[in-house]
Amino acid sequence: MKNFKHIIELKNISISFNKEVILENFNIKIKSGKFVTLLGPSGCGKSTILKIIAGLLKPDSGETIFNGENITNLPPYKRNINTVFQRYALFSHLNVFENIAFGLKIKNLPKDEIKERVLNILKTVNLKGFEKRKPFQLSGGQQQRVAIARALVNRPKLLLLDEPLSALDVNLKQEMQFELKEMQQNLNTTFVYVTHDQEEALTMSDFVVVMNEGEIQQIGTPQEIYNEPQNAFVADFIGQSNILNGTMVKDYRISFANEVFECVDKGFEKNQPVDLVIRPEDILIVPEGEGKFNGVVDTIVFKGAHFELEILARNIYWLVHTTKYYEKGKKVGLNFSPDDIHIMPKLFEQSTNIIKAVAVDEQTISFLDVEFKTNEFKLKANSKVKLIIPPKSISLVSTDSADLVLTLDSIIYKGSYNEMYFYYEDEDENDGYILVNSEYEEEVGTKLGLKFNFNEVKILN
C-alpha cells in the first residue's frame, strides 16, 4: 500500500447532537508516523473527532480521507484503524490472551500466528505471563496495557487513544507517558492522542492541536505552543502565565501597565488592542529600583522545584517563578526582556459592550429581555438606540436576582480581574458577546446572573 504524507485528513466535517453544533466545517491533516495530540477542555469536540476517524460516529457532512482513500461511509469494523478507549473497555468475559486475540480471530488468522503475535505484543507492553488473567484481576495500569496491546496487535496504520491515562495515578501516568512515546517511535505508527491534560500533551507529542469549542486554536510543536501561543486561550490553557491587555503603539513598541515597552513583534495596526503573555519563569526578580518597575511580594508558595510568587506591581498581580525565597511584603524590582513578551491578537475584538436596544416609551429602554428607565433625555417610542455598557458596570449576582442570565463562554485572568465573555442571542437574531470584568472566578459553561448598573450605561441615538 502506498504511504501518503498525511495518514488522515478531515475535510469540512460538521456534526451536531440534539441541535447543538459540536463541529462546523472542521478541517485537519495529520502527518504519517507522528504522535499528534488533540488538546482542549472537555466538550471541545476532541473525542468527537476521534470517533469520526474511528467510524463510530458519522458526520452530518464532510469527508474522512484515510491514506488517500475516502472512508467516510466505511463502517468502523472495515477500517484499518484501532482505538484505545477511555476506561479501557476490555471484554470482561475474556482473559488477557483472548482480549488481545479478539481482532485477529475475527480476521480468521491461523492459530499459530495469532498465538505468536499475541505473545509478542504482550512482551512489548511488559505483560508476559499474564495471558490467563481476567481483566478484573489486573491493576489499572495493567488493564491499560492490555487495551493498548489489543489495539496494536492488529498492526493498525493509525492508533487512536481517547484519554487513556486519565484513570491512572500520577506516577503510573508519567511512566505510561514515557512508554507510549517509546512504543510509538519503535512501531513507527501514527498515534492520535486525545487529552485535556496539557502536561501530557507537551511531554509526548510531536505536534499538539489545541482546541476550544470545536475550533482549532493552534497547531504546533510543544515548544511552539508553549513559547508562542497564538491567543490568550492557548496561553491560558498551556502552562501558567501572566496574560494582560496591551496596545501596540507601533512596530516593536507595546504599551501595558501604564508604560511603553520594547518588544520583538510587528505587523499590527497602529494602536491595535492586543493580548500579551509573559511566562512566570521569564520574569526576573531584581533589587528594588533596578527593574522595569517595582512591586511588593504578596504571596509566596513552595512548589518543590521553585517558589511561586504573586507580586503586586502597578495594580497587577504578577505570577513569578523563582528558586530564591522572598519574604512576604518585601519590595522588589521586576525585570523582563523584549523577547519575553509574547503578543497575540485578541480573542474577542470588543473592549466594551455596544448593544442594540429599543425605546418602549419615552423613558423606558428594552434590550435582551431587560427593561430599564432613564431620565437622561426623552426618547421616541419604538425608536432604535444603541447602548454602551462598560464591562466594569456589570456585576455577577445569583441567577434569581439577576437582570439577565447568560452562559459563560470564555474567562481569562488579566492580572487583577477576570475578563469574561457571555454569548447572547435575541429574538431578532442579533447576537454577540457581553464583556464583563469581574473579580470572581467562574467555570466556562455555567449559567450566571448579570446585574447592570444602569446609571453607567450610555445611550446613543
Binding site: 474511528a54 467510524g55 463510530l56 463502517p75 468502523p76 469494523y77 472495515k78 484503524i81 484501532n82 482505538t83 478507549f85 477511555q86 476506561r87 473497555a89 476490555l90 471484554f91 470482561s92 468475559h93 475474556l94 479478539f102 481482532g103 475475527i106 480476521k107 488473567r133 481476567k134 478484573f136 484481576q137 489489543r150 489495539a151 492488529n154
Partner: protein, 268 residues
C-alpha cells in the same frame, strides 16, 4: 443493658423466623415416614409411602406433566424475555420507562385476576378452533406469566454492558451482526441461566394460573395436590413433598458449590 436486650430480641426473632419457615417442612418429612395414616400421631418409621408413591400413576403423571410444562415454558419464556429485554434496552429512555412499567404490571397483578383473564382470553380462541383446555393452553399461560420475570432479570445485566465495550468490538473488526454472540450473549449468560431457573421454579409450583388454564385432560402437580387435599391428604403426598424438598436442597448445594468454584478461579 439496652444492647444486651436488643441482642436477645434480635436473636429470638431470628430463631422464630427460621422455626416458622422450616418446622412445617420437617413435619412433612417426618410424617412421610410414619407407618400410620394419622396426621397427628407418629407410630413407627417406614418408607412404604415412598414405594407406594412410585406406584401411583396419577401422581407420577402429574409430576412429569409439571416438569415438562415447566421446562418447555421456561425455555420459551427465557428466549422471548431475553429478546424483549434486548429490544427494550435499545429504546429511548422515555419509551424504556413505559415498557418497563408495562412489564411490571403482570408481576404485581393478582394471580387470580391474571388466571381468570387468561382463561377467558384462551377460551375465545379455543372456541374458534373448536379445541379444549390442555397442555397448549397451560403452556401459553405459563409463558405469559414467567416472561416478565425473565425481562426483569436480564435487563439490568444488558444495561451494565458499557457502550464502549461494544464500540471496542466494532473497532476490532466485529460486525454489528456478530456483536450479539461475541459480546452481548457471553456477558448476559449468567443472568439468562438465572432467569431460566426462576421461570422454571415459578412455572413448576404455580397453582392459581394453572387451575384456570389446564382443563380436565391435563393435570399439573399443584392442581392435583389441591384436588387431593380437598378429599384427604395421603402420606404419599408427604413422601412426594419430602422428595421435592430434598431435591431442592441438593440443587441449592450444587449451585453454591459451582459458585464457590467459579469464585476461586477468579481469585488465583
Amino acid at each position: 443493658m439496652y444492647n444486651v436486650s436488643s441482642k436477645i430480641v434480635s436473636k429470638m426473632s431470628f430463631a422464630f423466623i427460621f422455626l416458622f419457615l422450616y418446622i412445617p417442612i420437617f413435619i412433612v418429612i417426618i410424617f412421610a415416614c410414619n407407618s400410620s395414616k394419622s396426621r397427628c400421631v407418629f407410630e413407627s418409621f417406614t418408607l412404604k409411602w415412598f414405594s407406594e408413591l412410585f406406584k401411583d400413576k396419577i401422581i407420577l403423571e402429574a409430576f412429569f406433566n409439571s416438569l415438562i410444562l415447566a421446562l418447555i415454558s421456561a425455555i420459551i419464556a427465557t428466549v422471548i424475555g431475553t429478546l424483549a429485554a434486548l429490544k427494550i434496552t435499545k429504546l429511548k429512555k422515555s419509551k424504556q420507562n413505559i415498557f418497563t412499567g408495562l412489564n411490571y404490571i403482570p408481576i404485581i397483578n393478582s394471580d387470580v385476576i391474571t388466571g381468570v383473564s387468561l382463561m377467558l382470553f384462551l377460551k375465545f380462541f379455543l372456541n374458534i378452533f373448536n379445541k379444549d383446555f390442555g397442555f397448549t393452553t397451560a403452556l401459553i399461560a405459563h409463558i405469559t406469566i414467567t416472561m416478565p420475570y425473565v425481562v426483569l432479570f436480564v435487563m439490568p445485566k444488558i444495561k451494565q454492558i458499557e457502550p464502549n465495550t461494544l464500540n471496542a468490538a466494532l473497532d476490532l473488526g466485529c460486525s454489528p451482526n456478530m456483536l450479539f454472540f461475541k459480546i452481548i450473549l457471553p456477558n448476559i449468560a449468567p443472568s439468562i441461566v438465572g432467569a431460566f431457573m426462576m421461570a422454571f421454579a415459578i412455572s413448576f409450583d404455580d397453582f392459581t394460573i394453572s387451575y384456570f388454564t389446564v382443563g380436565d385432560s391435563f393435570q399439573t402437580l399443584p392442581v392435583l395436590i389441591y384436588s387431593m387435599v380437598r378429599r384427604r391428604i395421603t402420606p404419599k403426598i408427604n413422601a412426594l413433598f419430602a422428595i421435592i424438598f430434598i431435591l431442592v436442597i441438593l440443587i441449592l448445594i450444587l449451585i453454591n458449590i459451582l459458585n464457590i468454584n467459579s469464585n476461586k478461579s477468579k481469585e488465583i
